[in-house]
């Protein structure tokens, strides 16, 4: 006896032969599907032998929302009807019509069409999808991006511009993904340079369709593949577009680096000239409560160093880090000393210690900085932009909201003394303190030398981190008897407000720049500071 080929199909000739045989034997269709008949062709249905499953419809009443899909789409049309009772939410649920218990053929249409997981159909015969389809074919791969020290900028002295120094700093710190959108001033140097350099070190570069796409791609890249350190670079208008996603990065706690090479504003302003107007926007630009870290480099060396530091801080605290460079720093050429690689501190984000997936909580509030699971490592975390619980589920709960937002701000505020950096220049006996940062601090430094020679006791406080701002330094100076704070920056008074917050009643004056987009030169600073001092 040969095996019957169940799923075979017959040609027209075969079918004719099939029918002639059945006519000869005068058996009718039914006999043709005897087990011992050999047909490598489609078989007719033997109604006597074919089993029809009788389905039993089980309704999970509490999940039902009374959409009536199951009642409408039952093919025999009439097995189910609406109940007279209601469930705990007040919905009528489907019940089997009296007398129709045996009519269900277990076609599972009601189960399939139910959007709410409320219906199950049980029958004797059961095929799971698992058995139909194969097992997984992908093996877990090794880490994608390994550091290739040969391809990094060699230790030693280099002559670089600020934008290139930022790019090299990022590569040295382990950045292997760049997504950006062309904008002046950083596009020529940072984006183009990264597109050239990243493939050499095993990284990837993409030019997105706009800045929002860029920052989103960066946040995505930073979430994947062993935690690729990712960055973007932009200027004022692009930075404004990115604000919403800075909030997203803070909420999802994704480490990412944004380099904002500030230019003159507002709006498109003067794209090719400097501004320092993004200081407050960097911290307060997105809605809600969150904290970021922002560095203020003043020369190419600092552009290199601070980019590494910013990436480290982003990884350490799982925040968005920003390097607030400006057009002059970006286009300024200078000496950059690259330290030996073992002298450079590279920080990696905290990694989960529990095995995947169920014990892991993506926003574990027992930690200040919870371990970060990388997409594709089996942790299956729900990364939620809504206010969420420790597990990553959206919530409107008062305590959960409080716990989450407190943690988001605490992780920077509690560590601000460790993060914040500043330079004190001739402050020991200073009566007048000029607060300045970035490229402007160069003019101020020169002005202070001249003013000191003229007998004025002035000094400079230069914050190296805009955020967190070293407010306690300003407080100490104020309580030490400083007569006045003077802020010199290329805007109409931004850090002025921050200094005033900590000045304890000591007057703060702002020296506005004269022509927009131009750095205040030393003479301008000297004249105006002298006016402030002499009243």
């Amino acid at each position: 006896m040969q095996k019957v080929k169940i799923n075979g199909y017959c040609t027209i000739e075969e079918e004719k032969r099939f029918k002639s045989i059945s006519n000869e034997k005068n058996l009718g269709d039914m006999a043709l599907v005897q087990q011992d008949e050999v047909w490598s062709m489609r078989r007719l249905v033997n109604l006597h032998k074919m089993k029809r499953p009788i389905g039993k419809i089980i309704v999970n009443i509490d999940l039902c929302k009374d959409c009536r899909f199951c009642i409408e789409f039952c093919p025999p049309n009439g097995v189910l009807e609406e109940s007279k009772d209601v469930n705990s939410k007040g919905y009528h649920y489907p019940v089997v019509k009296p007398g129709k218990e045996l009519d269900c053929v277990a076609c599972r249409m009601c189960e399939k069409v139910c959007p709410d997981f409320a219906i199950t159909v049980v029958s004797e015969e059961y095929i799971t999808y698992d058995k139909y389809y194969g097992v997984s074919r992908h093996a877990h791969s090794a880490e994608l991006y390994k550091k290739d020290l040969d391809k990094l900028l060699r230790p030693g002295i280099h002559f670089l511009d600020g934008n290139t120094a930022v790019a090299e700093g990022a590569i040295t710190a382990g950045c292997r993904f760049y997504a950006g959108y062309p904008i002046t001033p950083p596009s020529n140097e940072i984006a183009e340079y990264m597109s050239y350099r990243l493939p050499q070190v095993g990284g990837k570069f993409i030019q997105m369709e706009d800045e929002i796409g860029s920052i989103m791609a960066v946040l995505g890249g930073a979430s994947a593949a062993g935690g690729v350190k990712s960055m973007t670079a932009t200027s004022g208008p692009g930075f404004s577009l990115m604000q919403e996603e800075i909030g997203l990065g803070s909420m999802l706690e994704i480490p990412a680096l944004i380099v904002d090479v500030m230019r003159a504003g507002p709006s498109t302003g003067i794209p090719t000239l400097l501004g320092q107007g993004d200081i407050l926007q960097a911290k307060y630009g997105s809605h809600g409560d969150y904290e970021i870290v922002a560095y203020l480099p003043a020369n190419p060396q600092e552009a290199f160093d601070f980019t590494i530091k910013a990436i480290n801080m982003a990884e350490k605290y799982r925040v968005v880090a920003i390097v607030l460079s400006d057009q002059l720093v970006g286009h300024m050429y200078g000496k950059v000393r690259v330290p030996e690689f073992d002298e450079i501190e590279i920080v990696e984000r905290p990694k989960p210690t529990v095995p995947p997936p169920d014990q892991y909580l993506p926003y574990d509030s027992r930690y200040l900085v919870p371990p970060m699971a990388i997409a594709g490592t089996g942790y299956r975390a729900n990364n939620e932009s809504l206010t969420h619980t420790d597990k990553g589920y959206p919530t409107t709960d008062r305590d959960a909201s409080f716990k989450l937002v407190m943690r988001l701000v605490r992780k920077i505020r509690e560590n601000e003394k460790e993060i914040a950096e500043w330079e004190e220049y001739m402050l020991d006996d200073a009566e007048y303190v000029i607060v300045s940062y970035g490229s402007t601090s160069g003019s101020v430094r020169r002005a202070i030398k001249v003013l000191r020679a003229q007998g004025y006791r002035v000094g400079m406080l230069r914050p190296k981190t805009a955020w967190p701002f070293p407010g306690w330094v300003v407080e100490n100076l104020a309580s030490r008897g400083v007569q006045k704070f003077v802020t010199v920056e290329v805007n109409m008074g931004k850090m002025y407000h921050v200094v005033r917050e900590f000045s304890r009643g000591v007057p703060v004056e702002h020296i506005p720049y004269a022509p927009p987009g131009y750095i205040p030169d030393p003479d301008y600073v000297i004249n105006n500071v002298r006016k402030v001092i002499e009243g």
Binding site: Y129, G213, A217, A224, A375, P394
Partner: protein, 278 residues
């Protein structure tokens, strides 16, 4: 019959039916019942997507779901996968970043018509142009459901919404044509009722190398309410009776007008184009 019984976040004790045993580790049972309205098609898509992911042949750990904002944006949160619920319209660029940084991931974006085609429209066409190797499921319910029924880029001309109380003036997107013209490698359109076809299409989508788009027509009571079309079940009946399956249809004919007399479904496009990287 239950395989899993958990007290959910809403306090209801949920027993997932036995027939979902194969996907029980992919559904966040403790979050059921889900937030969607009675008659929403998203629950159906959720089940199908979970099954398709389970049987895609790719380990579930390698699957990542990225969702934007809107009703559909909540879908990722019910799947026990690496899921990213990001800002409005920006799911595609986020997914592009994920995929670029780790090409081993199978990244799927699920979004509504408003999320992907309005605020995210630019990202959609550019990702299709580059042919980024990601999957995009557009759940088209013809309206902004979560915000209460404003018109969306796929709202047919003449339909009434809260922002078009006298009937909508504008023409809708023909989504398959748009996706094809922008450069997608795989374009299909199904409804949540065409479950076997949609399921096969989802499996196919995971295999496609390149930008794969599936438009899923889904009923929405917000849309039917505004247009006196009855309940979601009445729209579902239309989706049962009217559609014609034509895989070789002229893409220019695929527009769905307000009368819904002509709804053409099918796997329209499958072509090989160089992808943007890798």
């Amino acid at each position: 019959m239950s395989v899993e019984a958990e007290v959910t976040t809403t306090g209801v004790k949920v027993e997932l039916p036995k027939s979902y045993e194969d996907i029980k580790d992919l559904i966040r049972i403790d979050r059921l019942p889900h937030i969607w309205c009675p008659g929403c098609g998203l629950g159906i898509l959720l089940k199908l997507l979970a099954r398709a992911i389970k049987n895609s042949g790719i380990p579930v750990e390698k699957h990542v779901i990225v969702t934007g904002i809107g009703c559909t944006g909540r879908l990722g949160g019910y799947l026990k996968l690496d899921a990213y619920h990001v800002t409005h319209g920006r799911a595609i660029p986020f997914a592009v970043g994920l995929k670029m940084a780790n090409p081993e991931l199978e990244v799927t974006v699920v979004g509504g018509d408003g999320d992907i085609l309005a605020i995210g429209g630019n990202h959609f066409i550019h990702a299709a142009r580059r042919n980024d190797d990601i999957n995009v499921i557009i759940v088209n319910n013809f309206i902004y459901g979560m915000t209460g029924g404003q018109y969306s880029p796929t709202t047919p001309k003449g339909a009434k919404t809260t922002t078009s109380p006298y009937g909508h003036y504008e023409n809708p997107f023909n989504v398959p044509l748009l996706a094809y013209a922008a450069g997608a490698s795989y374009v299909a359109r199904w409804t949540v009722l065409h479950q076997n076809e949609l399921y096969q299409s989802l499996l196919e989508m995971f295999k496609v190398k390149g930008f794969a788009v599936i438009e899923v027509l889904s009923p929405c009571i917000i849309y039917t309410d505004r247009n006196a079309m009855g309940d979601a079940v009445d729209l579902m009946k239309i989706l049962r009776e009217r559609p014609v399956i034509d895989h070789n249809a002229n893409l220019a004919d695929l527009e769905i007008d307000f009368s819904m007399k002509k709804i053409i479904l099918g796997n329209f496009v499958k072509r090989e184009r160089p992808i943007s990287y890798g």
